[in-house]
């Protein structure tokens, strides 16, 4: 697993402790029951803190899955 995946998985696990690492990789608003608006704010705060990215207000509505957040970090931070 790449460094970005490891760190992002840790972020997800801290907010959704019941998810296994495998479940994290496919996590989305639809598949994770606890992914409500408060969990989304917490998750994005953790991600911003971990990767030093600033998520714009208009981008928040797009970041609704592990893969979407993964892509966002890569495109904004250059982390591979």
């Amino acid at each position: 697993m790449h460094d970005l995946d490891l760190r992002l998985t840790r972020c997800f696990s801290s907010v959704f402790p019941d998810l296994s690492p495998e479940q994290v990789q496919t996590a989305s608003v639809q598949s994770v029951r606890g992914w409500d608006s408060l969990a989304a704010v917490t998750l994005l705060a953790v991600v911003q803190e971990e990767f030093g990215v600033q998520v714009g207000l208009s981008d928040v509505s797009e970041l609704v899955s592990y893969q979407a957040i993964h892509n966002y970090i890569r495109s904004h931070n250059g982390v591979s």
Binding site: R10, C11, S14, V15, P17, S37, L38, V41, T42, A45, V46, Q48, E49, E50, L57, V60
Partner: protein, 579 residues
């Protein structure tokens, strides 16, 4: 602590059966990460405790405080921001920043503060209340440029400061220090406009952590240390006394030794608040006495006791000082400029906090002064704090005389002209009584401690009693030195808590306490919730003499045994029913 670390802390399971603390978090914004950080910081500070944070309703700070007054919380944490005092001082509402709005905003803030003050007072009668005053910058609503503080802004700040000064006078109210928060969290990096607009949470994550850290410290409210043992050469003063003589040592600006004077000044301040100050110095005793007589010494000589000046190991000095003070090493701080001496004392007393006094490092000395204030800090200075040192001086002499044969002890106590005052007034706001319950070790019925909320709840039971005992003799007052808490059950008294300060030993006050309990409540038997602890040896000896050994957990002592086994008592007894 960052957010991911906080979430990791909260993932750790709490052992089954652990005590839990329920914290009412009153704020007007979405508590979000503040709630997470507060729980995490409390878990770190209070391991072995479950932490439950109960949030209030969005946008209603005063209402939340009022509701928490009856919500069975153990502590109330209030975190207020400007928008909670008037929504127009925030950014989520568009109520108007016109110049003609300002008088109404000022008035509205004063009304909000008044309501919060009343609600907080009500809560502080039942549980401890910790308050964080507004921490965020005011929005640019005033006519003045942001570089200038105008009359309206100053009025707002003055209103909040007055509110804080008033509420801080309440016994169980503690306010977060803005100065300390400034050190932890830069004011330019506090406000998170995006989170405020998106989620109603106005803080940067790091600022939420800083507030939660300080609030958790106030909620935990650790017991302050009791005594400080200091070295002399290159610590209390600059220079080696044995080499440069009494006039050579210094603590002044001219000789660049001023910080030693500031250190003395801090010790003087601690002593005036009841902290015991002793000296452990490898030096010639005569020279030390001479040096301590210097008129320009900032730390008054009479505030230092005992002075151990000789060439034996510092750990031996520390042991003797602990014995004189009758306190445990965990309650004492040792300071010396020699790392070797510090290590030697630390090896002998691992529980003692041992600190190296920094040499020629002004910033490090300044940090040390702040560290000491934190170790010894207390919310209020009680009358007992002011007389503690005198009590120890006279107590040492008294103990030596009383440990002789029984008749000489009788003679001595008969002539001591002692008066004991028993107060039966059930005052839940008696912070000295609460403090004694939570810091007394040696004469302690069972070693049990009470949280502030548990203390208030215990006393709210109509069947319970609180007795406080004050003592004075011709050698001086000792102040309030003993506390009994219990319940009346028909013709029996059940004592759940009984503590007495070690300063009051050897005066037969404990015998007088039992006599007064029997007489006051007219009972034939007293039941004690007794437990042996590693530290309550003096209490064990007392009960062994009265009730015989071994002692069961539900120790019963008859009135007859108390009468037969008590030595002669010579105190004048005063009773206060309604203090």
């Amino acid at each position: 602590m960052n957010l991911i670390e906080a979430l990791e802390v909260l993932k750790q399971p709490v052992p089954a059966g652990s005590p839990s603390i329920r914290v009412g978090l009153a704020c007007g914004f979405t508590p979000l990460h503040l709630q997470t950080f507060l729980a995490a910081h409390l878990r770190q500070r209070m391991p072995g405790h479950g932490i439950e944070i109960v949030p209030g309703l969005f946008g209603d700070l005063a209402g939340n405080i009022e509701r928490f007054a009856s919500a069975k919380c153990d502590v109330l944490a209030i975190v207020m921001e400007w928008a909670d005092l008037d929504a127009r001082l925030g950014t989520r509402t568009l109520g108007g920043w016109r110049a003609e709005n300002l008088p109404d905003i000022l008035q509205s803030v004063d009304l909000s503060l008044s309501r919060i003050q009343q609600a907080s007072r009500k809560s502080s009668g039942a549980v401890p209340v910790c308050v964080c005053l507004p921490t965020l910058p005011l929005p640019p609503l005033f006519a003045t440029a942001t570089r200038q503080a105008g009359a309206e802004e100053l009025h707002l700040r003055s209103s909040v400061a007055s509110f804080a000064a008033n509420i801080a006078q309440e016994s169980f109210v503690r306010i977060v220090s803005s100065q300390q928060l400034d050190e932890l969290s830069s004011s330019a990096k506090r406000f998170n406009l995006q989170a405020e607009l998106a989620a109603g949470f106005p803080y940067q994550v790091s600022h939420a952590s800083a507030i939660a850290d300080l609030m958790a410290a106030l909620i935990q409210n650790p017991n302050p240390k009791k005594g400080l043992i200091t070295d002399l050469d290159d610590t209390l003063w600059s220079g080696i006394l044995g080499e440069i003589g009494v006039e050579g040592i210094s603590w002044d600006l001219d000789r660049h030794s001023h910080m030693h004077g500031v250190y003395q000044q801090l010790l003087g301040s601690l002593a005036s608040a009841g902290v015991l100050i002793g000296v452990a110095s490898k030096n010639d005793a005569g020279r030390v006495q001479e040096a301590l007589e210097r008129k320009d010494l900032i730390l008054p000589k009479d505030k230092v006791f005992p002075v151990e000046a000789h060439w034996a190991a510092k750990s031996e000095s520390a042991a003797r000082i602990l014995k004189t003070w009758n306190v445990g090493p965990e309650a004492v701080v040792f300071i010396d400029d020699s790392p070797m001496e510090v290590a030697e004392v630390k090896a002998a007393f691992p529980e003692m906090q041992c600190i190296v006094f920094p040499r020629n490092d002004l910033a490090a000395i300044w940090s040390l002064l702040k560290q000491l204030r934190n170790l010894f800090g207390k919310s209020t200075v009680s009358p007992e704090d002011l007389i503690r040192m005198e009590g120890i001086r006279s107590g040492g002499a008294l103990r030596e005389m009383v440990t002789g044969d029984a008749s000489s002890a009788d003679d001595f106590l008969k002539n001591a002209d002692a008066e004991i005052e028993f107060s039966f007034a059930k005052q839940a706001l008696d912070t000295r009584a609460f403090e004694l319950i939570n810091k007394t070790n040696q004469f302690n019925l069972n070693g049990k401690r009470l949280t502030e909320a548990a203390w208030q709840e215990y006393l709210s039971d109509p069947a319970t009693f609180l007795i406080t005992v004050s003592y004075e003799d011709k050698y001086g007052p000792l102040g309030k030195i003993a506390v009994l808490l219990g319940k009346i059950q028909e013709r029996r008294v059940r004592v759940d808590f009984w503590v007495m300060s070690c300063r009051a030993f050897s005066r037969r006050i404990e015998h007088q306490c039992l006599k007064q309990l029997c007489e006051r409540f007219d009972v034939t038997e007293i039941i004690f919730d007794y437990q042996t602890t590693p530290r309550n040896g003096p209490l064990q000896e007392f009960f062994a003499a009265i009730a015989g050994a071994p002692m069961p957990a539900q120790l019963r002592v008859s009135r007859r045994a108390i009468q037969d086994k008590s030595p002669a008592l010579f105190h004048r007894v005063k009773e206060l029913v309604n203090a």
